[in-house]
């Protein structure tokens, strides 16, 4: 118990990830961690539209406010080692964090930046890919600087690092 307390202090001290509380304009510290299947409760399912049970075979991350269990967003990923890349399969912000009346902003950015970090950790030089809906390509290219590679959108190298700096490091 003592050890866990010590480590939480360290984590809080170091956690630079921030989401924006839109109404107040203030930032809140957030944490991205792996989702455990039992955390997909009925209450959580009512706040998300995608069927996250179907992503159980994939490494799925959740983003929460520090010291709060409420899940603000989810992202499933696939590490494809022989192609040196991480693929984002799905990403969804909770209903209350979508659109003009959202409570928290930067949820998706923090999750995409986490995928970039995962790519660097695996020595893939930040290479992350996703298959977008055609109508949404311009949004991902403008906001997150993905570029088009056939049917995929990709990000890598310095651009991926900049995304990490923008969303995961705030100093």
């Amino acid at each position: 118990m003592k050890l866990v307390n010590n480590l939480i202090v360290l984590i809080n001290f170091h956690n630079f990830m921030r989401v924006l509380h839109v109404a107040s304009g203030k930032y809140s510290e957030a944490l991205v961690s792996l989702l455990h299947r039992e955390e997909l409760t009925e209450e959580v399912k009512t706040r998300f539209n995608f069927d996250w049970e179907r992503e159980a075979a994939y490494r799925t991350y959740k983003i929460t406010i520090v010291n709060d269990d409420c899940i603000m967003g989810l992202m499933s990923t696939l590490i494809i080692a022989k192609e040196y890349r991480v693929e984002i399969r799905l990403l969804e912000s909770a209903q209350e964090n979508v659109g003009r009346n959202k409570i928290y902003d930067r949820v998706a950015g923090c999750l995409i930046a986490t995928a970039c970090q995962l790519s660097f950790e695996n020595r893939y030089d930040g290479f992350v890919s996703l298959v977008p809906k055609t109508e949404l390509i311009s949004h991902y290219t403008e906001k997150y600087h993905f570029y088009r590679m056939g049917g995929h959108l990709v990000i890598e190298g310095a651009v991926a690092r900049n995304l990490i700096i923008e969303y995961l490091e705030n100093d």
């Binding site: 003592k2 050890l3 866990v4 010590n6 480590l7 939480i8 360290l10 984590i11 001290f13 170091h14 956690n15 944490l31 995608f50 967003g73 992202m75 192609e83 040196y84 890349r85 984002i88 799905l90 990403l91 969804e92 912000s93 964090n97 979508v98 659109g99 003009r100 959202k102 949820v107 998706a108 970090q117 660097f120 950790e121 695996n122 020595r123 893939y124 030089d125 930040g126 290479f127 890919s129 996703l130 298959v131 977008p132 809906k133 109508e135 949404l136 949004h139 991902y140 906001k143 590679m149 056939g150 049917g151 995929h152 990709v154 890598e156 690092r161």
Partner: protein, 170 residues
């Protein structure tokens, strides 16, 4: 129509949706991507690979610092050794570059000696700020926290120095 456009814009801001491609379409898209990815990978220079190695150490370190569990094998010395390998130096050469005794460096790498603040700063300077002194410090402290919480031997040894204790709080 406007309503539909608004809907797309609204949804696009915060989600990445299921792609909706058939298996064949997805396989074709993946095949195209693999060709591009391998071309990009094969074009990487020695300098690019060095950068990838260094960033791997940096981000793995950050991941360990942020994780709640302590993995005993991923200690300060492990990452210091990984850093030295990433920059392709011999221990002796690296010890000289940061003005530290080679034997002491070896003891730190093998988790036999705790690093001090001066070393954290020297490592930050050596990496040209790529890996901060704060991260080296947090990594070392995490190991220290684990050690202080689990060291039975030290507790046994120090017991004789505590002559009296307060009553147990129930």
């Amino acid at each position: 129509m406007r309503k539909n456009k608004d809907k797309i814009e609204e949804l696009s801001i915060d989600n990445i949706y299921p792609h909706g491609l058939s298996e064949e379409e997805k396989a074709a898209a993946d095949k195209e991507l693999v060709a591009y990815r391998m071309e990009l990978w094969n074009k990487m220079t020695k300098k690019d690979h060095l950068r990838a190695d260094l960033l791997q150490v940096k981000y793995q370190m950050e991941s360990v610092i942020k994780s709640i569990e302590y993995q005993g094998n991923l200690h300060f010395g492990y990452f210091l050794s990984a850093y030295i390998r990433a920059i392709q130096k011999k221990q002796k050469e690296f010890a000289r570059e940061i003005s530290i005794d080679e034997t002491r460096l070896s003891r730190i790498i093998h988790n036999k000696e705790f690093p001090n603040d001066e070393l954290f700063i020297r490592l930050e300077l050596h990496s040209n700020n790529t890996i901060s002194a704060l991260n080296w410090f947090l990594l070392a402290e995490k190991g220290r926290a684990y050690n202080i919480s689990t060291n039975k031997e030290l507790r046994k040894k120090e017991k004789k120095n505590v002559l009296t204790t307060i009553a147990a709080i129930k």
